[in-house]
């Protein structure tokens, strides 16, 4: 062998063996540490919270409306092949702890709380622009508060927070009313933050910007204070909400309205039970109530079909309705003994023309309410909450608050998901109903 051949071979081998690189980076997205080390990345994680909350069959919008709607008899399951929804439709013991809706609601709520915690903790360290930081904190707080609120709505006990050591510690539990108070702490902190430094527009341009954050924080404060039984706080917060502002979860042709995409357009999961909105005699909509045709379309096979905020691919879904704020005020006054103001606010809902409502929700009735006492007035407030907030995900909580008979629902609380019980020794016993 001559030297040249030898050197060729040596070079060949040298080239072949030289590259022993072992460290590569994933170019498709930030690692779990990179996601929390710049203002823009933090904002995108916060937008991710809205993504988790609102998009797809796994999102909380779909799962809260579905679970609430089916459990409280607003909706019935069209095709029993949708096992998860069908179990809710049968209710009681048929709702297994492996149910996809149950597991999804629990898992996504906790996921949102987990990522929101990281955003809220990192923002003061990373973001120097006070107004930007204020927006980021308030925006993330909206989803954290709603995730906690949803847990408190569907379970009788809620986790105290997120586990300290991943996979190795058991989170404790506390009562659902305490859960609402936790949500309120998040909201109050956010309100304090935006009170000190208004939300900067430089933050908002990085978000879908369909949610009016300050009004939403007050609306959520009103809702959860009411659920926690703090009527004075609820009333005060509801009064802060500008009733002409629309605050919505936006959709487009890519991120589509999940109820429309999954249920309305397929006619294969669920539809409204009937034109009475699943309400018992005495609480059913009055003749001529324009909210009924707003929410329920008439077709054939089945006759009653989903409409309302779920009638188009890109239809926005309200975060809260102005009518909910009016009814909160009506209820708070009534529960505090001020029946006149209570009835006035209820009238403002009952007499509201669709055109006068930013979302077009209006009973449009001509007769003010008449009532025989506090209980009767509360009963009528419940009735109009059910109608005004049809498929709004709030009726299960309302049924419990208004002590409605259990025959009107399929379950009062959901069982704890198998995945939680399997991995957390503190998981409480499942409620029997």
């Amino acid at each position: 062998m001559n030297k040249r051949t030898l050197s060729y071979i040596a070079i060949l081998l040298g080239v072949a063996l030289a590259s022993c690189k072992k460290d590569y980076t994933d170019t498709s997205g930030p690692s779990s540490s990179q996601a929390f080390n710049s203002p823009n990345a933090l904002t995108d994680v916060a937008v991710g919270l809205q993504n988790w909350y609102t998009a797809g069959r796994g999102g909380l919008v779909y799962n809260t409306i579905t679970a609430d709607g089916i459990l409280t008899n607003q909706l019935y399951v069209v095709n029993a092949g949708n096992t998860d929804e069908a179990q809710l439709g049968t209710g009681g013991g048929a709702v297994q702890n492996t149910n996809g809706v149950v597991t999804g609601l629990w898992g996504v709520s906790n996921k949102i709380i987990y990522d929101a915690n990281l955003v809220l903790a990192q923002t003061p360290k990373i973001v120097t622009d006070k107004n930007y930081a204020s927006g980021l904190i308030a925006y993330a707080s909206v989803f954290k508060a709603m995730a906690i609120g949803d847990l408190a709505t569907f379970w009788d006990q809620v986790p105290t927070g997120i586990a300290d050591t991943l996979g190795a510690s058991n989170v404790g539990f506390e009562t659902a009313p305490q859960g609402y108070l936790n949500a309120l702490t998040v909201i109050n902190d956010a309100l304090t933050t935006i009170g000190a430094n208004p939300i900067g527009s430089s933050f908002l341009v990085n978000t879908p910007n369909s949610i009016d954050i300050p009004n939403t924080l007050y609306a959520l404060k009103a809702r959860y204070s009411l659920f926690a039984g703090n009527y004075a706080d609820a009333l005060a917060a509801a009064q802060q909400v500008n009733l002409t502002v629309k605050s919505v979860f936006g959709y487009n042709t890519v991120v589509t309205n999940p109820i429309f995409t999954l249920a309305t357009s397929t006619n294969n999961i669920y539809q409204p039970v009937d034109s009475a909105m699943g309400l018992p005699a005495g609480l059913q909509p009055d003749a001529g109530d324009k909210r009924e045709p707003f929410y329920i379309a008439i077709g054939a096979n089945p006759r009653y079909r989903i409409s309302g905020f779920f009638n188009a691919t890109n239809a926005p879904i309200p975060v809260y309705l102005p009518g909910e704020m009016m009814l909160i005020m009506a209820e708070c006054y009534t529960r505090q003994g001020n029946l006149v103001s209570g009835a006035n606010w209820l009238d403002s809902v009952v007499l509201k023309q669709p055109a006068k409502d930013p979302f077009g929700v209006g009973a449009g009735l001509s007769t003010p309410v008449t009532y025989t006492g506090q209980n009767d007035l509360l009963n009528q407030i419940y009735k109009h909450r059910c109608i005004e907030l049809f498929m709004g995900g709030l009726r299960l909580a309302d049924q419990r608050r208004f002590s409605r008979p259990v025959t009107e629902r399929k379950r009062s609380f959901l069982p704890f998901p198998f995945v939680e019980r399997n991995g957390n020794a503190n998981t409480p016993a499942d409620p029997t109903f």
Partner: protein, 1030 residues
């Protein structure tokens, strides 16, 4: 690096020293078998040198080495024959004729196998079982897919065709599954080139169609690109005991494929042509009831599930299978030219395969060109190159797991629509009110195509710088580009948005779908091996081997998609609504070195030990380097002097005992970037969204590690007429990567970590029997029996349950086989009969679930019916108890008959389609309810009982039949001509309530197996083949 350079320098010096002049001599001769028939492809080598060749088809070889006078040994070795050594003394003559007659051995003890060594070793020395499949056995089975051809051919392998598509995926599981995360298919090496056999979907890829659930690994796997006609033989290494030398890549075993080589002599032209006919083997019975419950099919469907509807409407029933299935033709043509002169040998081939699918408008075609070149440079160096270019193209339809696949589109609607009916404008009509796709749209309007361009090439040098030292360097590249397009035209009728329709309003922003996906994969491997043979004494010799290998892989997958297609537009760019695409890029590298030492005592006792160190970029720096060890030994009792003196030696020819222990790792358990826990970036309504994943991967994760212990024996009797091999093995995979479910209050739903362990233990029996062997008539029987028990030992939790698109409740439970079905079941009474309510409808067992595997049924005092929560238990197991094959080969003069029967026993299939057919009123159970033979509400009553969908998947299949006639050399101008008629999957004996229990709509998934949800059944194939040799 430094070490290698130093070694190279040392070689350089020794090489130069070895350069001393010799004279060129010529060896020639004919190699024949025991009957005097010429033997092709026998390797002839001058022992201790690099000079070698192989015989041509006439059995003749010619070698022209440059040698000094002296004694040399010529080694003759051929697959299936005992190796023969012939001593030659080179003197002054320039030419020597050395003929050789090789003795066949049914157990092929001295057959050469290549187990990660450059020089190869003989089967005699192996402490572990390695099966070898010859070319002849791969081409009798009427298939153009090399993995299908392997079905039933090797012990320890379960080869399952998952789809009956013309390029349908095939999984190979060697001694059970070896992981639960990632692929459990073996490492494939073709002529030293590590090749990619992954399954990547470039068509029909939108994530939404899988519902976000666990869907599996569906579609073609890339070994479909390989032309079986090019293959000389395949070696299969079942587990770590045999494959430890492959280190981190060998957990699922290794399959080595060797393609044909040329031999010196006149060029030989081989031409093979075959035509085949594919058809649906079994048509399912459909509902023929003249009525349906409820109103008109146009407005009210799936009424069978609503027992309150009791009125009926008259309907006309159709059998859609007549429409979607067809009998399809295929052809397979290969021409090869091989030959060589002096120091150059070549094999070239060109082939074209066309295979029509049994679903209308589906087919697969493949072009393949190959060049294998071997060049001897001088008496101490040789060089070889292999090149294989492949282009293939598939016309497909959406696969299972979606309601718009051909079979599912039929399964999901009642059979009372005239699906081919069109309106005045020529548009197809809606099938009911639920927004399903009309099967005719799927068959006639959907366009789904993919094509692959691939080049697999390798180059190597073999040097013998000094006597007994071989240096072998090989580099291989597997580079392919897979490109797919999907087009669903806008429907003219209401189809649900979930099936890419426009809904009742035919929303133009949603109606229709187009996608384009590409996958570019580049894989390169380098192997440098040094082998030193040392004869220590007359009785003791040693082989020492050191090696270094490196592998690098780069993948780029991209997908663009859109919906809402305007008229005439089939491309994504014209879609009115963009759907988020995918742009995925990964790189990974592995490198490692090994040392292996082998001692041989008197050709009776063999001991081999090896160590390998491997590092991979997939794992964090703290866990990057892993050491694997191996120790094996074999003892040939029948080779001892003592044995020879025994009386039994007269009829007992061979008795070998062997034992082997080995370790290996798994690199595919986590994705290349899994440990980064990347937040997923996506567009979200005018903003960017980062969403965390639901699974957290421990950044300090390490590879899974398998330890395998194998014992075995090889025996042969009566002049090798009866051969028997038995293997017992126990494989344990520790540090099993499991995505353990964790409480969602951790912020993640699962945690991937080295948590668990799994075990496969079992035995394999291979029996060869030659009952008749005369000059004109021979009869060979081969029986293979594989028994494997697979079990999850520790999974860090009591139960892992997976939601799947098909609804199959796939679970992993400690102490149980992996991938079992776990769910609700029928309530039964003390007499074992189903508990029924007064209406006669079976009930779900209910009561108290104490733990995943323990429950207490409860009965209501009042009604005697089950009460409490619905109970769950193991309701099925997709892991067969055993698989077995019996092959018989008869030959009488020029006539040959080959029959192969495969049996798979003790296995369950989750038959999702069966239930759907009843729920939509096109199945035969629905017919009974329609006709009042079953109580009204029967199907609705048992619909939710998951056990109803578990079906018996055992089968016995007439896998291969081939009747051939060999005209021999009698025809002028031809060296040989043979003709054969054959068939594949001709008959299946089973009690399955579907097309074929050999199916998996989850494709090549490791975890999801035995699921029947809209996949295309495997066709029955008839073929006629002509082989001519010029």
């Amino acid at each position: 690096m430094k070490k290698i350079q130093l070694t190279l320098c040392v070689f350089g010096l020794t090489c130069l020293a070895a350069l001393s002049a010799g004279a060129q001599v010529r060896f020639t001769g004919t190699v024949t078998d025991g009957a005097g028939k010429p033997l092709p492809s026998v390797t002839v080598q001058v022992k201790g040198t690099n000079t070698g060749t192989s015989t041509g088809d006439n059995g003749v070889y010619t070698l022209s080495p440059t040698l000094n006078p002296g004694s040399y040994v010529l080694v003759f070795s051929g697959v299936g024959y005992k190796t023969l050594d012939r001593l030659v003394t080179v003197g002054n003559a320039s030419s020597y004729t050395i003929d050789a007659q090789l003795e066949s051995s049914s157990l092929s003890l001295d057959e050469v196998v290549v187990t990660g060594t450059s020089a190869g070793t003989t089967r005699r020395q192996l402490g572990s079982y390695i099966s070898s499949v010859k070319a002849d056995d791969l081409t009798k089975g009427s298939t153009g897919n090399v993995l299908a051809a392997l079905q039933g051919k090797t012990a320890g392998a379960q080869v399952t065709q998952n789809s009956g598509d013309p390029a349908g995926g095939i999984s190979v599981k060697l001694r059970g599954i070896s992981t639960i995360s990632g692929s459990s298919d073996p490492l494939y090496i073709i002529d030293g080139v590590i090749v990619d056999n992954s399954t990547t979907r470039v068509t029909n890829t939108d994530a939404t169609y899988a519902g976000g659930n666990f869907v599996g690994s569906i579609g073609q796997n890339r070994l479909v690109d390989i032309n079986p006609n090019d293959i000389e033989r395949i070696e299969v290494l079942n587990g770590a005991a045999a494959a430890a030398i492959y280190g981190s890549r060998a957990n699922a075993g290794v399959v080595q494929i060797f393609t044909k080589k040329g031999s010196t002599g006149a060029p030989i032209v081989n031409f093979t042509t075959s035509a085949n006919l594919n058809q649906l083997r079994k048509k399912l019975p459909v509902n023929t009831a003249p009525v349906k419950f409820g109103g008109s099919p146009a407005t009210q469907t799936q009424t069978i599930l609503t027992p309150t509807i009791t009125n009926t409407s008259p309907v006309t029933r159709y059998n859609y299978q007549d429409y979607i299935f067809r009998t399809a033709m295929g052809t397979d043509n290969t021409v090869s030219v091989s030959g060589g002169r002096d120091k150059t040998k070549y094999y070239t081939s060109a082939s074209y395969l066309y295979n029509g699918g049994i679903v209308r408008n589906t087919n697969f075609s493949r072009y393949s060109f190959r060049l294998n070149l071997d060049q001897v440079l001088n008496n101490w160096a040789s060089f070889n190159v292999t090149m294989n270019y492949i282009y293939d193209k598939t016309n497909e339809k959406p696969d299972g797991n979606s309601f718009f696949s051909p079979t599912n589109s039929v399964t999901i609607i009642g059979n009372y629509y005239n699906i081919r009916q069109r309106d005045a404008l020529g548009n197809l009509l809606a099938v009911g009110e639920r927004g399903r796709a009309n099967p005719a749209s799927v068959i006639e309007d959907f366009r789904q195509q993919q094509q692959t361009n691939r080049i697999i090439s390798g180059a190597g040098v073999t040097l013998t710088p000094i006597k007994n030292l071989t240096v072998d360097y090989h580099m291989g590249i597997d580079n392919y580009n897979q490109d797919g397009t999907t087009f669903i035209p806008p429907y003219a009728y209401n189809v649900s948005l979930a099936f890419f329709g426009g809904g009742p309003s035919l929303d133009p922003t949603q109606n229709g779908y187009a996608s384009t996906g590409t996958n570019t994969s580049f894989l390169i491997n380098h192997d440098l091996n040094l082998t030193y043979n040392w004869k220590i004494s007359d009785n003791l010799s040693s082989v020492t081997q050191v090696g270094y290998s490196q592998q690098y892989q780069k993948m780029h997958y991209s997908l663009q998609q859109g919906r809402g297609l305007p008229p005439y537009v089939q491309t994504v760019s014209g879609a009115s609504t963009a759907i988020p695409g995918v742009d995925q890029r990964t790189e990974l590298s592995i490198s490692g070195e090994f040392i292996q030492q082998n001692f041989k005592y008197r050709n009776q006792l063999f001991i081999t030990g090896a160590l390998r160190n491997d590092g991979s970029s997939v794992f964090g720096s703290s866990q990057r380097n892993q050491v694997y060890s191996k120790l094996s030994g074999s003892y040939i009792l029948s080779g001892t002097d003592y044995w020879g003196s025994l009386g039994i030696a007269k009829w007992w020819d061979l008795f070998k005992l062997r034992a082997a222990y080995g370790e290996s790792g798994n690199l595919t358990g986590i994705p290349a970037y899994g440990r980064f826990n990347t937040y997923i970036a996506s567009a979200f309504i005018g903003a960017s969204s980062f969403t965390g994943q639901t699974t957290y991967t421990n950044p300090d994760i390490k590879p899974e590690r398998q330890k395998e212990l194998e014992f075995g024996t090889d025996m042969s009797f009566l002049g090798n007429r009866i051969g028997l091999s038995f293997n017992y093995y126990r494989k344990r995979v520790n540090d099993l990567l499991i995505s353990r479910l964790i409480a969602p209050t951790n912020g993640y739903s699962s945690l991937t970590d080295n948590i668990g362990a799994l075990e496969n233990k079992g035995y394999e029996i291979v029996l060869n029997f030659e009952p008749v062997k005369t000059k004109d008539f021979t009869w060979d029987i081969t029986a293979i029996y594989n028994h494997n028990e697979n079990k999850a030992l520790d999974i860090g939790q009591s139960l892992l349950l997976f939601n799947t698109t098909s609804g199959a409740p796939v679970a992993i439970i400690g102490g149980q086989p992996i991938g079992i079905f776990y769910g609700t079941f029928f309530a039964t009474g003390a007499d074992g009969k189903q508990v029924k309510n007064p209406a006669g409808i079976p009930q779900t067992e209910s009561g108290i679930q104490n733990s995943p595997l323990s429950y207490t049924p409860q009965r209501s005092q009042a009604t005697g019916l089950p009460t409490g929560t619905a109970l769950q238990k193991i309701i099925g197991n997709p892991n067969p108890k055993y698989t077995s094959t019996i092959t018989t080969d008869l030959s009488y003069k020029k006539l040959g008959l080959h029959i192969q029967v495969d049996a798979v026993h003790g296995v369950d299939v989750f038959n999702a389609d069966f239930r759907t057919r009843q729920g939509v009123d096109n199945g035969t159970v629905a017919q009974q309810e329609d006709l009042g033979q079953l109580p009204r509400g029967y199907i609705a009553g048992i619909y939710a009982i998951q056990q109803w969908r578990v079906d018996n998947g055992s089968y016995v299949k007439l896998r291969e039949v081939s009747l051939s006639y060999d005209f021999g050399t009698g025809i002028k101008g031809l060296k040989d001509l043979s003709f054969s008629l054959g068939g594949r999957n001709l008959v299946s004996w089973d009690s399955y309530n579907g097309y074929d229990p050999e199916i998996n709509s989850a494709g090549q998934s490791t975890l999801l197996r035995g699921i029947d949800f809209g996949a295309i059944p495997i066709p029955r194939t008839f073929s006629a083949t002509l082989r001519a040799k010029f």
